[in-house]
């Protein structure tokens, strides 16, 4: 009945109903995870781009493929996706070359298959968690909205006990319910932005890998 409610931040959350609090907790968790993935992806994608650039320069400046292969195999983890694709392809090529009676096109075919397998694995690694960001971006506003609708329903239901309704009776309930929507949006907006950004970056990396595979196949074809 009292007119003045404390509308500051913490009591507003504490006074919310259990379901709304659950929704808020879920959204907070989701938001934490999505931000974690956002930063994780930011670092990984940036690293992958840098490593690919370094490797490409090395590849085109270095005429001795054997030596390059040894370097890449030695620094396996740090070689980057493109280096690993190269290593897989070159190892397969050497193996097939050693075998007698395998004609040139079959050697190249095997090499490409080996490279494609590694390429798939690398892409899978780069794209991991992106779908999580996408679903956070699309679902969490609805979850927040659910919490809000529930909170507003409660606010109006408690209003029925009061003979004469004033705005002061409904306002706190609606305010605390709307926090759920705010949290949903807070989780969703960065997730959507990050998803678009990283999907674009990963797409560019993938086309770079594919063109490298083609070029490398050409180089191998010219190999005696």
């Amino acid at each position: 009945m009292e007119v003045s409610h404390d509308l500051s931040f913490i009591p507003l959350i504490q006074n919310a109903s259990v379901l709304v609090q659950l929704v808020m907790g879920l959204l907070l968790l989701v938001s934490l995870m999505s931000w974690w993935y956002i930063f994780l992806k930011m670092f990984t994608v940036r690293l992958a781009v840098k490593q690919s650039k370094v490797f490409e320069e090395e590849f085109w400046n270095n005429s001795d493929l054997n030596q390059l292969y040894r370097e890449v195999a030695a620094a396996h983890q740090d070689a980057g996706s493109m280096g690993r694709i190269f290593a897989a392809g070159f190892a397969e090529f050497i193996k097939l070359k050693k075998k007698q009676g395998v004609d040139n096109s079959a050697v190249l075919e095997g090499t490409r298959r080996a490279m494609r397998a590694t390429y798939q694995r690398e892409m899978d690694n780069l794209e991991a968690h992106l779908s999580f960001l996408a679903s956070v971006g699309s679902v969490s506003p609805y979850v927040g909205l659910f919490g809000t609708v529930w909170g507003i329903m409660n606010a109006f239901r408690s209003l029925s006990n009061v003979g004469q309704a004033t705005l002061a009776h409904v306002a706190p309930g609606i305010a605390e319910a709307l926090i759920a929507t705010a949290m949903g949006l807070f989780a969703a907006i960065p997730a959507v932005v990050a998803y678009n950004r990283y999907a674009h970056d990963v797409g560019r990396l993938s086309s770079r890998f594919e063109s490298f595979m083609e070029e490398f196949s050409n180089v191998l074809q010219r190999q005696p």
Partner: protein, 253 residues
């Protein structure tokens, strides 16, 4: 060869950064936004027609606290001539003699014996004169104070009348606006602390003692807000009496 699931070296920094983002956002919400909109405390400005209101309190104080010293300078010139006339003529010569005698000693240092009797005789007379003057001053001051007190009492009575009249008007106006909810017990008594602004608008109406019937309390509160502007006396100086009102409402009357 590449069956390893690449361990990601950035898990920890990414987690820390995510936490940092959230705590920054939380702090922003907590400290950056004033969630409760405080109703403006209202610039209360007193409008004075003139300054007389400041003097009365100053005059009220002296009778109890201050001795005789402060009043004489104020009232002496007015009252003394009438009452102390008989004493007056006697005073000047004595004072003059005393003054003359006092002037003489430094000048006539060679004849101290002649004037010797004078100094012992003079002081008592001088003292008496001073005492009488003081007494007269006190009497004058007292009568003046009594006069002022009477005037003040009259004024206070007049003001009290006006104030009561207007409080009755305010209550009546509010009462007209009460929409009585059904089933209110006759003995319900709601008390409100109402804060007014000059001009009669209501800054704040707070239920100080609920009647026990919430619907009636609400009805009265709405009526108070609806009755704005409340009738105030045209004399702005009286507004001070109306700033804080304690009003009682009961459905019976």
């Amino acid at each position: 060869m590449s069956a390893m699931i690449y361990d990601e070296p950035y898990k920890l920094p990414a987690g820390i950064l995510a936490l940092a983002v959230h705590s920054a956002f939380f702090l922003l919400l907590y400290f950056g936004i004033h969630w409760q909109a405080q109703p403006p405390q209202g610039m209360v400005v007193d409008i004075w027609n003139s300054l007389p209101e400041i003097n009365p309190p100053a005059q009220v104080a002296p009778p109890q606290a201050a001795p005789v010293a402060p009043p004489p300078p104020v009232i002496k010139p007015v009252e003394l001539p009438k009452r102390i006339e008989p004493l007056r003529p006697a005073l000047p010569p004595k004072v003059d003699i005393a003054l003359a005698d006092k002037k003489k000693p430094p000048v006539k240092s060679s004849a101290p014996k002649l004037i010797e009797p004078a100094p012992p005789a003079m002081p008592p007379r001088e003292n008496r004169a001073a005492l009488e003057a003081q007494l007269a001053a006190m009497q004058a001051a007292q009568s003046a104070q009594a006069e002022q007190a009477r005037i003040r009492a009259e004024q206070a009575a007049l003001i009290g009348k006006i104030v009561n009249e207007h409080i009755a008007k305010i209550v009546a106006k509010i009462r007209r606006n009460i929409v009585l909810p059904p089933d209110v017990p006759d003995n319900a008594l709601a008390e409100f602390d109402v804060t007014l602004l000059p001009g009669g608008s209501v800054l704040n109406a707070k239920l100080s003692k609920p009647s026990g019937d919430a619907a009636y309390d609400n009805a009265v509160e709405r009526a108070i807000l609806k009755a704005q502007p409340l009738p105030l006396p045209s004399d702005v100086a009286l507004f001070g009496q109306f700033r804080e009102l304690h009003l009682k409402f009961s459905p019976k009357e």
